[in-house]
């Protein structure tokens, strides 16, 4: 099992989420794959939005989720995939993925 930690950083250095911060936001929905596909994503985790000029960074787990979301991956399938890969509870995983997706929606203005 891979080490589980998902994070997303803005240019101001704010950590939006990681394994130390748990959230109860279940209302977020997935951003559209079309909006995410315009993002320029580097293997280093640097992400640039060519439309807004915003940039942010994601860790390895965030990068993996972002790539799945770009392919219009279904949430249930995504959670199943991540559940097999990481040692994390189902509820925690779902909560974190949904919050991460909500942050992405905010960044791409979706």
């Amino acid at each position: 099992m891979a080490y589980y930690r998902v994070s997303l950083f803005t240019s101001s250095g704010v950590v939006f989420m990681d394994e130390h911060k748990q959230h109860d936001n279940h209302s977020a929905v997935l951003p559209s794959a079309q909006a995410l596909r315009r993002l320029a994503i580097s293997e280093s985790g640097f992400v640039f939005d060519p439309m807004s000029g915003h940039h942010f960074t994601v860790n390895e787990t965030g990068l993996e989720i972002l790539r799945h979301l770009q392919k219009d991956q279904d949430l249930a399938e995504l959670l199943a995939l991540l559940g097999q890969e990481y040692s994390v509870g189902t509820r925690e995983l779902e909560r974190d993925v949904l919050e991460f997706a909500g942050m992405l929606r905010k960044f791409v203005g979706d």
Binding site: A40, F48, P50, M51, S52, G53, H54, G109
Partner: protein, 376 residues
Amino acid sequence: MNSIDLTVAITGMNARADNPGPGVAVARCLRDAPEFTGRIIGLGYDALDPGLYLREYCDSAYLLPYPSAGDEAFMSSLRAIHDSEKIDIILPCLDAELPGMVRLTPQFDELGIRYLLPTPEQLRLRNKDRLPELARHAGIHCPEIKSVTHSGFFYQCQEEGWSYPMVVKGLFYGAHIVHSADEAADAFREIAAEWGYPVLVQRLVEGEEYNLTAVCDGSGSMLGEVMMKKMAVTDKGKAWSGVSIFDQTLYDASAALIRAINWRGPLEVEVMRDNTGHYQLIEINPRFPAWIYLSAGVGRNLPLMLLQLILGQEIAAIPAARPGVLFIRHALENIVQQSEFEAVIMNGGQQLNPVPGPSPAATANEASRQATRNKP
């Protein structure tokens, strides 16, 4: 590739770190272009304008009388410079120059100096006090703007539905975000003293600033646009760093504005993206912006394109927009010998890069100095 071996005069050689003029950046774009092999004449208004001493960009440099000295003083000075330098093309880079330059185009024609400038009507249509009307015509949001002629307005503006903070602006330059009537009245007096009346007030738009620059041919088309998001600004709100972007919505909005006025020449569209994601038109500047070197950085050298347009040359297909290219401005100390400074102070200009034969600067200096003495 058509080589351009001509003499190009560029104004706006001021480059103070907090609010640089575009002239040095325009000259730098041309110097970077393999197609340009000509001479560059830098024109400024103050002996401390840095571009007047930058020989990597300018071959000669001269002082002009301020626009407030009048058309006659300006033409007298320009004619003297032209007699020596044989200017082929002039590229004005400052807002306050444009009305005079447009008026003087018949005299430019007589001298054989080429240009690409808007008509007086085009210039008027994008005046700051006309922006809401233009924006409405083009289908774009624009914060309300009002002309103010008395500082008493700021103490009773709430009765007219205005609230603080708001922006107090000059017709050509200057913008202050003010939070109280006293602060607004101070800004009003400062702007009126420097730029005259009317002073404008604009409702403040909260959001992020985006700019677009382009060259327009007068047929309503926009050529080679470059868009930029400001990443850091100076105390005066000028871009200190920025990143190139491409947003179809901003492209369409700018194209609609340009179609509405059939703009001719370079321009800059300034917008704010408000908190609801809508673009709000803030200003349309009738010249290249100070960050124009980014256009060369993304492979769309707009000053070069402007020369090609002026000369009637075929405009080569431009590369696709390249979002993600940054500029980060920096301050640099240029060492200037006393003799160079003296030449600008005493003679109104200097030759930076010698050319074979008699010095053109020597003959232009006397008339230029006479005209410069007229400045306020």
